[in-house]
């Protein structure tokens, strides 16, 4: 199962949207106590973002739920005069703070890393921004699309010079950055074992987005190549059509090509000397790809990929979300977990890709759900909470 390495660790998640909150969820999955800190009366903007339960008409956000599952929730304005001492109290009790405010903002409200370190020298602070804390672009604005183009990911998905680059679907380009964020925190906690000190992690969304593409990006200084993926031209990759779905078939290595040829019933055209080795197949791909297409297009996706895989050639169906929901493979591995949210009703939620026992998830918190529990434990009393609430600091 997922290692429960963060049992006993308290993480404050003072971030919004997808990147920071997903990092918080990952840490909750490792057993951390994650406390989401939200603006009173308002909360994370994703609370108002679809998908909602359309049958029900409730306005509970499935997006907010997904990224904030298993967290506790408090409301607080740490930057307010009355909120600051409460926040510092909370900081003292914590191991990690995740925050995503604009560069410099934390300093202006007296919550710089140095200030936080005074109350908790062992605190790890992860600061997430689009372009980092420093540099001429630090104040540039991004949404998901523009963030994707900042890190070189957008350029990769060009489908030919005449068509605009197309973005990665879903929340993928942001969740991957959230995963990177969580890794940085664990690395800092690892070092803390020996150093005894906290750490301030400056994570730029742009740099986090560059890292997975670094091989393609470094091709420029190292080989003078500005590489671009030309899907239609690349040998053996690129979806092929089957009767009921698209399929990917990848005879990457020689043995896999031989497997493909066997799966296709050893057609005579495959004996052509031009197709013998990978390099020449690549050069003659306009001849190879259509032949494979011809074969796949009269078969079901399952027939294509199962016969390919049986012969040692990587292949699979291009899965739609409904096919994923019905997947026998995911069923066998208990990948979807039964959850229910007050307004969402019961639904099956993707858990984690780690084999074994899944975390026992708790519903994402309603706004301020754990105010009493968390703040009373810090030493405030009901009167304090009432007063802070009345001035909208809590």
């Amino acid at each position: 199962m997922l290692p429960q390495s963060l049992v006993g660790t308290r993480v404050l998640d003072w971030s919004e949207g997808i990147v920071g909150p997903y990092a918080g969820r990952l840490m909750a999955e490792l057993g951390a106590e994650v406390i989401k800190v939200e603006r009173p009366g308002h909360g994370d903007w994703t609370r108002r973002t679809p998908p909602f339960n359309e049958a029900d008409g409730s306005r509970e956000s499935g997006l907010y739920f997904y990224y904030n599952v298993s967290k506790k929730g408090v409301t607080l304005k740490p930057e307010a005069i009355e909120g600051r001492p409460v926040f510092l109290n909370l900081i003292q009790s914590a191991d990690v703070l995740v925050e995503d405010h604009a560069p410099g903002w934390m300093d202006t409200v007296g919550l710089s890393f140095r200030e936080l370190q005074k109350v908790n020298p062992r605190l790890v602070v992860l600061s997430i921004t689009p372009f980092g804390q420093t540099g001429p672009w630090r104040d540039y604005q991004t949404y998901q699309l523009t963030g994707l183009h900042a890190g070189g990911e957008g350029w990769e998905l060009t489908a030919g010079a005449e068509r605009p680059p197309v973005m990665t679907g879903g929340d993928f380009s942001e969740t991957t950055v959230g995963l990177t964020a969580a890794m940085g925190v664990i690395a800092a906690l690892w070092r803390r074992r020996v150093s005894g000190k906290g750490n301030h992690i400056d994570m730029s969304h742009q740099e986090a987005s560059m890292w997975p593409g670094r091989v393609e990006l470094s091709a420029f200084p190292n080989a003078g190549v500005v590489e671009r993926r030309r899907v239609a031209e690349r040998s053996m990759t690129g979806a092929k059509s089957a009767l009921d779905a698209w399929v990917e078939v990848t005879p990457f290595e020689q043995s896999m090509w031989q497997g493909l040829v066997t799966a296709m019933g050893n057609p005579p055209w495959a004996d052509d000397s031009r197709f013998e080795q990978r390099v020449s197949r690549f050069q003659n791909q306009e001849e190879v790809n259509p032949r494979i297409d011809e074969w796949t297009s009269v078969r079901s996706a399952k027939e294509v990929y199962s016969s390919m895989q049986e012969n040692g050639c990587p292949a699979f169906e291009v899965m739609t979300v409904d096919r994923l929901a019905q997947s026998d493979q995911y069923e066998a591995r208990n990948y979807f977990t039964d959850m229910s949210g007050a307004g969402l009703g019961r639904f099956r939620m993707p858990s984690t890709p780690f084999t074994g026992e899944k975390p026992r998830y708790k519903a994402a918190p309603s706004l301020g759900e754990n105010n009493h529990e968390v703040f009373l434990e810090l030493g405030l009393n009901e009167e304090d909470l009432g007063r802070l609430k009345s001035i909208e600091v809590m």
């Binding site: 197309v166 973005m167 690349r234």
Partner: protein
Amino acid sequence: MADVMLDGVRILDLTFNRAGPSCTAMLAALGAEVIRTESFTRVDSNRMRVASLDKSVISWGTDKSDMEKGWTFSSINMGKLGIQLNLKSGGHREVIKRLVEVSDLVVEAFTPGVLEGFGIGYETLRQWKKDIILVSVNGFGKGGPHGHYRAYANIFAAAGGIEELTGYAGERPMGFVGRLDSVVGSFGGFGALAALMERERTGKGQHVDVSGAEAVTTLLGAPMVDHMINGRVAARDGNRRPDLAPHNCYPCTNPDEPSREEWVSIAVATNEEWLSLCIAIGKPELATDPRFGDLASRKVNEEDLDRILGDWTLGLGAHQAMQLLQAAGVSAMASLRADDLFQSEHLRERGAWVEYEHPVQGPRFDVRLPWIFSDGEGAYGPAPLFGQHNAYVYGELLGMLPEEILELQAQEVVY
């Protein structure tokens, strides 16, 4: 204490190609000592991946004297040590045992069952070292009807659902390559770090096994959740999003280099941003154009919107358009290419490119780790030459005598 984050951590790396090696490369950059095994019986294909002289074709050579020239290999495997070890020899087991005894972690990305086939599955490793951590990265995870299936980046993408969601409406889905290997490898890296931390707490090792397909599905987010709650089946739709308009990439012309392909991405969510954009591009009349008055109408007239913006961007370079719009508070970003990123003043100032020396390829550049720590550094160095660290690992680390190593070479164990 050394200044690297993973000081003192030693990792045995049995991976090939890109997904597994991406995981271990990050751990190496964090400062772990990563020992990578290779053999003449299976040379990593990326060792021989080179570009043609005119840079138009990237392909795989077959000449083994070219094994040190592949810049793809050199980037993927930066910072690692390299030894020869033939996992098909039978004699490898005793060597692996000795390596495991001095390692914290083993990383592998074979199809499930292959490691056991080599006689070095988790149960065996655990007998050799009780608290060993094994990290396995594979296509579909252990178990289930597809547990034994083989996968690469584009297979993870297809099986996990991201390929279906990417591309133009009604057209062939967009395939994924290298980057996706790294993303899946990152889940392995996450598991590795988590397992190291847990061993501190409990004294126990474990087997961390990651399914690449499930990793992708986990990262989809909204469309998967929408289906589970509402039954909706999301379809790819180019650069369109229901909550933003304009939201697309527009063609630009670099005045200094008109033949250079350039695009600028623009994303507008609010009416305020739309107003700012209209003024910034010198077309304030658009702000009162009823076709574009609010998000709903901008969505209805999105084709007109894209055409108007595209006409404007065509007259400017991508960086020019971006700077102009950013100055007005509009989210615009040139579609940055490798050369843009390497030459970026912003990234230079942040030290985002690192440089080191490769014994054959000379000065190499690569991307710095995606974090700047106030305490602790990364570690960057060349990928290993084939068998480069045989003497260090076998001789120094394992204490073998020269005769022992020669014998292993004669038996094609160190091969």
